[in-house]
């Protein structure tokens, strides 16, 4: 129960941060990238502020003598450090989508709470895209497996 309540509060802090920052406002997001038009540099302060806290914060958390988080047996941190084509291609595709819609997943999730129709439309399409990609990945994996078998 303690775990659920604290996680809920962490989600709430994240959501308030997103809503205040402007990350859930497509007009602001798209203007951040529109250097040759209605440029609004606000969002650099979002990423800057977040990393300003998260970089030393992560370091302190991981450096704790306990060597594990407060409510879990271990840290679940990606260990993969290799750059590959999938990562770069996927990120490029994400950038194209973000530039079209103006919402990213982190911006849209808290904004669902506003019940704004554009947010709900984006989120439904986002989920469809995730499932489509996961299905494609399963097919690719199956084909690779049968090719090597």
């Amino acid at each position: 129960m303690k775990r659920i309540v604290s996680t809920y509060l962490i989600g709430l802090i994240f959501g308030i941060g997103i809503m205040m920052s402007g990350m859930a406002n497509p007009a602001k997001v798209l203007n951040f990238f529109d250097f040759f038009g209605t440029w609004d540099p606000s969002l650099i302060f979002v990423m800057g502020g977040a990393i300003l806290v998260a970089a030393p914060g992560y370091w302190l958390v991981v450096a704790r003598p306990a060597g594990k988080p407060l409510m879990d047996a271990k840290f679940h941190v990606p260990q993969n450090r290799k750059l590959d084509a999938k990562l770069i291609a996927g990120s490029a595709v994400f950038g194209v989508g973000w530039g079209i819609a103006g919402f990213c997943p982190g911006g849209a999730l808290p904004a669902i709470g506003t019940l704004n129709p554009a947010v709900l439309t984006f989120t439904a399409a986002l989920i469809a895209g995730i499932f489509a990609a996961k299905f494609a990945q399963t097919l690719t994996a199956r084909r690779t497996n049968s090719a090597t078998a």
Binding site: F14, F33, V53, P78, G97, A125, G129, I130
Partner: protein, 143 residues
């Protein structure tokens, strides 16, 4: 559509995002990535894996209501694009973040804060492609 330059609000929002990110690592040892949280919520590996994701998402979606209650006005969402672009953009984002294994929160904040080479490469890549897309949509097609 012109938007107001809000350095202090954006910085404060960013500090809150960073704080929640650190707290999630401190308590559960998890990365605050919207893509990962959402994907795992829809296809959880176990009941306990689902419950923390559900709690986190519940916290996120209640934020706007709480803010409206406290400040007396709903957080601003201005949408300068049409429904078709929302659908197409959303679907493309879903495909991209699945192959790219992360988005602005997971790579752009958490990964950058861990100095992960993958996340730094991913963040630079999507920022460039977002900027190109916005340029093409607004200044080539004149959307």
């Amino acid at each position: 559509m012109i938007t107001e330059f809000t350095p202090f609000m954006s910085l404060f929002g960013g500090l809150l995002i960073g704080s929640s990110t650190v707290l999630l690592m401190l308590t559960l040892g998890r990365i605050m990535g919207a893509t990962g949280v959402l994907a795992g919520f829809m296809q959880p590996s176990s009941a306990s894996d689902w419950s923390w994701r559900a709690a986190l998402l519940a916290g996120m979606v209640t934020a706007p209501a709480l803010m409206t209650l406290v400040t007396g006005q709903a957080p601003e969402i201005q949408v300068p694009v049409n429904t078709l672009m929302m659908i197409v953009g959303g679907f493309i984002v879903g495909v991209g973040v699945t192959y790219g294994a992360g988005c602005t929160s997971g790579h752009g904040v958490c990964g950058m804060a861990r100095f992960s080479p993958r996340s730094i490469a991913a963040t630079i890549t999507f920022m460039i492609f977002t900027a190109i897309t916005v340029y093409v949509v607004r200044h080539v097609f004149g959307g």
